[in-house]
Amino acid sequence: MSSRRDFLKATGGLVLASGGAWMASHAHGADAVMGPPELPEGMLSSSILEALPGKVPLIKKSWRPPNYETPISYFNEEFTPNNAFYVRYHLSNIPEVSAASWRLKIAGEAVATPLELTLDNLKNNYEQVEIAAVNQCSGNRRGMFVPHVPGVEWGLGAMGNAKWKGARLKDVLAKAGLNKEALEIVLDGADSGTFPATPDFVKSIPVWKAMDENTLIAWQMNGEALPHWNGFPARVVVPGWTGTYWMKHVTSINAVAKPFEGFWVKSAYRIPRGKFPVIDRFVSQETDANTPITEIVVNSLITNIVNGQKVTVGQPFEIKGIAWDGGYGIARVEVSTDGGLWWRAATLGQDYGRFAFRQWTFVANPTERGSITVMAKATNRAGATQTFELIANPAGYHHNVVQRVTLTVA
């Protein structure tokens, strides 16, 4: 009979016993599950699969604040299940918000009539819209930077695709009488830091992005209430833009006439200007040197094969993956099975909208024994494609270097 201590050791500390079973079904070993080999050694060796309440076992990056990554196998489906969706927090005080007592305040100098909404108001008083969109952490793949940069050393799974349903932010702002002075919309959630001096996690978006018909205050995710860890009872959904703007447990939305001064906009989540092929700008927050991160850069992921996997010579096999971008839509995905000499078009799967994961498949037929290196490269409808060389930046954002997966042909 196993003791509690053995149990805790085996499951990495928390509840669900399914963790062990899940791991065993992955024949390619813990390394591939915990992330790509490029991650810092200390990150790989300290990662465990652990289930937060209501979640399946995810890759634990840090306990407090909680940061958990989605294992790559979940990306074989276009939509990421709520209980496998990644978790990312900056600050450690995360209250459990009750649906009944939750209130959302709409205020600021650039609205005529401040509002306070209940969850029922949000659901019943506004047109409800559902949009499929990728939420990707700005720092997804940071752990693969060469050289490494400090931060949460994410592998490939700080992202997910879901159907988000809620009211349009622009409708709510209109109800509050948004005026022409509005420059930025400031978003705050229920979480906070340990010390009063710790900057609260508050973000702003340009008013034009807030007024985009796709920007929502969502209370539903894949047909269910949002999991606590993904922002219950409501979060802001900013399709096309990185996850930093998708305020969880949103409690306050302020329309302001001047650039917001908070740490998380002024100092954090910034990229050097002119280095990335992005179109959306956040002009009121730009400096000569840098600018807030905005749209997600075009990217792809090979989801059904891992390094070192064996395939059989002369036997065709399917390579599967996903591609996504900042909302221009995926134009094509090309696959190479010879390390990048020749590229052929993959077959694109169902289109769930320009903000969603687009699945693709490709049939490879290895004709010689040895090894083959598989690569995939997505191009969006704006003509942007993935890079072969990392675009260095201090905070480790926008990693979309073409992946290489080497297989053994026997």
């Binding site: 200390g42 300290s46 309440p53 306990w63 830091g193 710790t198 100092s267």
Partner: protein, 94 residues
Amino acid sequence: MRTLLLVVALVLCAGVVIAAEQRVVLKEGPGRDKVEANCTQCHSLDYILGNSPFMTRQVWDAEVTKMIKAFGAPISESDAKEIAEYLTKNYGQP
């Protein structure tokens, strides 16, 4: 086993709770106590493991300074120095 079931039941009943933070045993060495006392005020120590072993003294210094200046961590100057030294020696590179 009964204890285990009780633990599981309690956690499930509690609904949403923060994950139990496991104790990270850092390497023995001068300054470890300062790291444990100061850094854990805001975050778990696995942040250190995950960011190792690639950071130089300069980079660790910058991280500790960021915790104080940007995040408002009340860390004394002497503790900050010891922390950066410990982290460079045990979780960084020279």
